[in-house]
């Protein structure tokens, strides 16, 4: 097997794409974000419930798309559940660096998310990996209600 492929599609990623975690509806969500990547047709619906201090009490998603977008969403929800607003934003920036910056060392705080670093060798797939993160960013901004976010701003 080809090393770049194995680095991109690590077993953890394939596993999360086949059996996404936190996949489903969140009936009492505060905010629902529909995210899409029109270039690829990836879609996710992200539902977030906040705790009293504005942290992520619960987070779930549904969606369809490539292995990268769905695994990224699954891994993200696992990582962000229970995190404060500041921690989420910090993680968002660290993750963006991880999948775009070729020289950067992966910060330890990203934990499992570091399996996504293979994306950096595939610039066209960065949007797939970032889709769920764009949605959570929008959820924080919006706070309540419904929102739409796209990797191709109109």
């Amino acid at each position: 097997m080809i090393p770049e492929i194995e680095e991109l599609y690590q077993e953890v990623i394939l596993d999360h794409s086949r059996r996404p975690r936190n996949f489903g509806e969140l009936p009492d969500a505060a905010v629902l974000v529909h995210g899409d990547n029109p270039a690829c047709g990836d879609e996710i619906n992200l539902a977030v419930k906040f705790d009293t201090s504005g942290g992520l009490q619960d987070i779930k998603f549904t969606g369809r798309g490539c292995a990268i977008s769905q695994a990224s969403a699954s891994l993200m929800t696992m990582k962000l559940k229970g995190k404060s607003r500041e921690e989420v934003l910090e993680m968002l920036h660290a993750f963006h660096d991880l999948v775009t910056n070729e020289t950067n060392e992966a910060p330890k705080k990203l934990g499992d998310l570091r399996v996504m670093r293979g994306v950096r060798n595939f610039p066209l797939r960065v949007k797939c990996a970032m889709l769920a993160w764009r949605a959570v960013e929008q959820a924080l901004e919006q706070g309540v209600g419904e929102a739409i976010v796209s990797t191709e701003p109109a």
Partner: protein, 412 residues
């Protein structure tokens, strides 16, 4: 020099005319199955561009010096060559454009702007590329016209039974693709044009996927407009053409304003040149037109009947082999198809498949192929598309199948 009948053509020698096919990708020999996006260029075309810039380059239609005369002659000769190639009655019916997209936009703006009124209908099909949809949406928005669509059946062909009820008196234009860029469907152009004309409707054909692959004669097809790109038929990017029947082209107002398209200009008013020059404001893509003519010369040496026979054989073989793969759905007609095949596999999303394949040197396209409404019609967000040209081989298709089998094992 290559011979006429497909069986006597040395396809290996033809393949040798394309320097880029000796490239490697990720350490593997390149297998280029994305010619529906853009074709590769033979040495003859690359040399024609080089020759133009080394020996003839000057602006056209204005200088009186030697090079300008050469450039103008070469440019107008290219226009005659395009006219012959598609069977137009005269070179005056050929407008050089940047490609299919600009050709269709030109019709929508110049012809549509003048002749389309509120309540008129433009008839399209569900299988149109965005380039033959969005310009009409923009026109409809400007004028209050409406769009109407011929449905696509499950086998990827048009629902022709509906055509007569869709061709009502409000319809002014029927614009449709010759070959679907996602399904490979070859539409019965002559029949569709005849049906449109029978009720006084003009017909526009998007020939982007057909003009480099099979013989086309606009007078036999009976179309009023034909749009195509040079880059999908061995020519350079940034050049294409619009054919429009002379009397229609003459009736159309200018599209862009500027130099090159005028007879005389005062500060208040301008008299425009006749067609086709009226539609070519500014310095045209002279080198591109000359490269396109070289591509036509090259294709005609091989012969379009032979190209079509070879191409469609590759596509049928690929479709057959793909159906052998587990969990694979192949789109489009099963009998005759253009030189491409779209498919989806349960094992992996099109983008994962194409990323995987690329690591083995195999270039395919994954996504919606500028066909989002058609993708929706078939309930998928995208497909993987392998598209072929006469320089591809059966062995490359066998290799594609091996790589896809490896992908199924990897992703399942």
């Amino acid at each position: 020099m290559h011979k006429i009948a497909a069986s006597t053509i040395d396809w290996d020698a033809v393949r040798g005319d394309f320097p880029i096919l000796r490239e490697r990708a990720h350490g593997h020999p390149l297998i280029y199955l994305d010619s529906a996006a853009t074709s590769q260029k033979p040495r003859a075309v690359i040399e024609a561009l080089r020759n133009f810039y080394e020996h003839e380059n000057a602006n056209v239609h204005r200088g009186l010096h030697t090079l300008s005369t050469r450039a103008t002659e070469a440019y107008e000769k290219a226009r005659r060559r395009v006219a012959e190639y598609i069977g137009a009655a005269s070179a005056d019916e050929i407008v050089f454009t940047r490609g299919t997209t600009e050709s269709i936009n030109l019709v929508a703006q110049a012809w549509g702007g003048k002749f389309i009124r509120q309540g008129d209908v433009i008839l399209l099909t569900v299988m149109e590329h965005h380039s033959n949809l969005v310009p009409w949406q923009l026109l409809a928005e400007r004028t209050g016209a409406r769009l109407r669509f011929v449905p696509v059946l499950d086998d990827g062909t048009l629902d022709l039974d509906q055509l007569s009820s869709l061709l009502t008196p409000e319809v002014k234009l029927f614009a449709f693709t010759h070959i679907s860029n996602s399904l490979g469907t070859i539409n019965p152009v002559a029949n569709l044009c005849a049906k449109a004309h029978a009720v006084g409707v003009l017909a526009l054909v998007d020939a982007a996927q057909s003009v480099g692959h099979l013989p086309i004669n606009v007078r036999e097809l009976g179309c009023d407009f034909l749009a195509f790109s040079g880059h999908k038929m061995c020519g350079p990017t940034g050049i294409g053409a619009l054919y429009a029947r002379a009397e229609i082209l003459d009736s159309m107002p200018p599209y862009h304003g500027g130099g090159e398209m005028i007879v005389s200009v005062t500060l208040e008013k301008t008299t425009f040149k006749k067609a086709p020059h009226r539609f070519e404001a500014g310095t045209p893509n002279v080198a591109g037109a000359i490269g396109l003519a070289a591509a036509i010369d090259y294709l005609e040496q091989i012969g379009r009947p032979a190209i079509f026979e070879h191409d469609s054989q590759l596509a049928r073989y690929a479709a057959e082999r793909l159906t052998e793969l587990p969990g694979t759905r192949v789109f489009g007609p099963t009998d005759e198809r253009g030189a491409l095949v779209g498919f989806v596999m349960d094992a992996a999303h099109p983008h994962d498949l194409t990323t995987f394949a690329d690591q083995y040197g195999l270039a395919m396209r994954g996504g919606h192929h500028c066909n989002q409404p058609l993708m929706r019609r078939f309930g998928v967000s995208g497909t993987t598309r392998a598209s072929f040209y006469f320089y591809n081989t059966m062995e490359e298709i066998d290799r594609m199948i091996e790589i896809l089998q490896a992908a199924v094992r990897f992703f399942s």
